[in-house]
Amino acid sequence: MTDPNTLSPLDLDTPDKTFLDANELVINMGPQHPATHGVLRVILRLDGEKVLGLECVIGYLHRGVEKIAENRTYTMFNPYVDRMDYVAAVSNGLGYCEAVEKLLSVEAPPRAQYIRVILTELNRIASHQLWLGTHALDIGAITPLFYTFRDREEILKIFEKYCGARLTTHAFRIGGLQYEAYDGFEKDVKAFCDFVKPKIDEYEELLTTNRIWLERTKNVGVISGKDCIALGVTGPVLRASGIKWDIRKALPYANYKNFDFEIPTGQNGDTYDRYIVRMIEMRQSLRIIEQAVAGIPEGPIMAKVPKVMKPPVGEIYHSIEAPKGELGYFIVSDGSTQPYRIRVRPPSFVNLQALDIMCRGQLVADVIAVIGTLDIVLGEVDR
């Protein structure tokens, strides 16, 4: 139990002076709580069950990733980024590799680009599946979790076959890929696409028109597009609020401009719209994967990159569309083999800011739903 006085001043609605608020309750949700997705600690001020305001306490998983980078070479730091958003490790790797490539003025060969896109999009699906399972579990539907994990397993199998690791894949290298796609890679990916399409329908069957699901998610955790932009919120959360912003389209990286896909948007910016947006995103990712698999060119998989990387003095900011939003890497190089400074702009960390706005005036149960819908990964929030 936290003493209310030690709380930093929350910007609360003016308290009702007519009555003494005998019911005001300060509750400490987490860091050990089944629904805070790891070690997030949320201090809630409640009036009965209504949330008056909340504050996130983070840092329980802080490992100093950015600081570690300053003592590692560019190549050595590559595996570390996998440990930030560990459910979307491939995306992290893509962002980092592309950022360093940009700094070195190298470009990965087309075949590498295609395989990168396939793996990243697969990982987007895996990340969304994990989100869906845990989000539904938070809202009380226990079954989707097992369905999504069953299907996510197939993606992890492909990862494992490709690079030997399932979660923290370290799949990409600066300048391209370490491994050539294994025999039957295309076949596996195609088979997965055919396998998972009906499965996504299955998830939707369980939830999309479920009355209780609708009641629990509609008009819950509403955030306007304006607020999203003000807070720097990105990813599906932003798109569900009606802003059509996807870095894959807006500032195309890798070879996303070669592919035909749509950016789903919502209107209300509530939890249900975010759910729908993510469901459509999974299908769009499948579309991208199918196009990419069909068009993988032959050729080298690694660009010419010096063994000892000494990028020119300068700084670079490169961002990609990770499953959770804009994942940016800001790298300052002093010309040595080690980066002078790396700053990561993790989507979860920024999106978490919106929690307060989204929860205010809602009930405790909605806080859970909103934490789920923000799709945060604490490894990324705390780095």
Partner: protein, 431 residues
């Protein structure tokens, strides 16, 4: 000694419940039987829930302890009993102690009037259904005090939630029950009754389950009750008091070991209790399907075989899975165990074919089978539905179920008394 035997035997031919006949010996036997049966049912329910839920969720469930995890509930119970008993700092020790017992007592006491058969009830009170509703409503007290005594925020919120929930849904539940009780009296021949046995008897006399009486009024009442009873027992999708993702475990967060297992026991026996109310009121209690239509001796005989056949089928299922067990030395004990279990089931099935037994267990079997259907529904709900939010739960209770229940009650009365009402109308407008 002779007197005693005579006293014991004197009941056997009776057509009353042991309580009704005032036979203390048989009443004690029945109490023990119900208690043991209930405990076995809870244990079985524990295993079944985990297995069925697991299969709904594309996983296997317990597989390690015993063949197909059959011994898992026993292992769980053992673990709970051996677990350290923690009383949190600052808890009110006495209340903390008493609370689980209140819940268990409330959940078990209701079975005094549950009619497993025309004579198979501990006693038949003439306020039977009132007694059941009243005593089951006492478990709220245990939950509230448990949450309060834990001296912790989550249990307190859980307790307040659950008491509010149970009290609100009791209203809707009561209305549905009253409409069913009303149906006992809306007939030329029978008078109204609150007795559980009387209610089933009335369904027999009126040649229909109350589920279908005054179609669709009976079904609506049943649906109201079926929803309210899930809320009343704090099960998914109304399991807010113990909403895992929000309140960790609700009112019993601070409980562990034996006392926690009491809550567990109470929850499951309360589920069985409310299901038996539903079965008694709407599904014809111990009556087998079409009791009036298929009442010829041949049909009676056929129906009396079904309990035995069911157990034989279960035994055969066990043998089938024994045959499918991996042929590996490591699995030998498990295979033998499963086969043994199958033999036990088959033996029970064979015993159920003995005429003397056959005639007595038919009622109990049909009642239990109907209750088991409800238990399956409970598991199914849990696998399918997300959880309601508190205000939505209250909205459903007060703004949907309550008005529907009230309208239903009035409609039932009007439809039931239509003859008299028409008579009256004729008296006024007729001439």
């Amino acid at each position: 000694m002779h007197d005693l035997i005579q006293y014991i035997q004197s009941y056997l031919g009776s057509d009353k419940t042991p309580g009704g006949a005032g036979n203390i010996f048989w009443a004690t036997v029945y109490v023990l039987l119900v208690f043991v049966g209930l405990s076995v049912a809870v244990i079985a329910m524990n295993w079944l829930e985990r297995k069925i839920l697991a299969h709904m969720q594309v996983r296997l469930g317990p597989m390690r302890v015993g063949p197909h995890g059959l011994l898992q509930p026993i292992a769980d119970a053992l673990k709970l009993l051996l677990k350290e008993d923690i009383i949190p700092e600052g808890a009110d020790k006495v209340v903390f102690w008493v609370a689980p017992f209140i819940v268990v007592l409330a959940a078990f006491t209701v079975f005094v009037v549950v009619p497993f058969g025309p004579t198979h009830a501990i006693t038949d009170m003439n306020i039977g259904i009132l007694f059941m509703l009243g005593v089951s409503s006492l478990s709220v007290l245990g939950i509230v005090t448990a949450g309060w005594a834990s001296n912790s925020h989550y249990p307190l919120i859980g307790a307040l939630r659950s008491s509010a929930q149970m009290v609100s849904y009791e209203v809707a539940m009561g209305l549905a029950v009253v409409s069913a009780i009303l149906m006992t009296s809306l007939n030329e021949s029978s008078t109204g009754t609150l007795s559980m046995i009387g209610i089933v008897q009335a369904q027999f006399d009126q040649h229909e389950w109350f589920l279908f009486k005054f179609f669709p009024l009976g079904i609506i009442a049943f649906v109201i009750f079926a929803i309210a009873m899930v809320a009343e027992t704090n099960r998914a999708p109304f399991d807010l008091p113990e909403a895992e993702s929000e309140l960790t475990a609700g009112f019993h967060t601070e409980y562990s070991g034996f006392r926690w297992s009491l809550f567990f026991l109470a929850e499951y026996s309360a589920m069985i209790a409310v299901s038996s109310i539903a079965v008694t009121l709407w599904l014809g209690g111990w009556l087998h399907p079409f009791p009036n239509l298929l009442s010829s001796p041949t049909w009676e005989l056929a129906f009396s075989f079904i309990p035995g056949l069911t157990f034989l089928f279960l035994g055969a299922l066990c043998f089938y899975h024994t045959a499918r067990m991996p042929k590996h030395p490591l699995f030998r004990i498990q295979t033998i165990g499963l086969a043994g279990f199958g033999v036990v089931l088959a033996l029970i099935g064979v015993v159920l074919f003995i005429p003397a037994v056959r005639d007595r267990v038919g009622d109990i079997f049909w009642f239990s089978a109907k209750v088991a259907g409800f238990m399956y529904l409970y598991i199914w709900y849990r696998g399918t539905f997300p959880r309601y939010r508190f205000d939505q739960l209250m909205k459903v209770g007060w703004k949907v179920l309550l008005p529907t229940g009230l309208a239903l009650l009035i409609l039932t009365a009007v439809v039931g008394m239509r003859g008299e009402l028409l008579e009256q109308a004729k008296g006024v407008f007729g001439r």
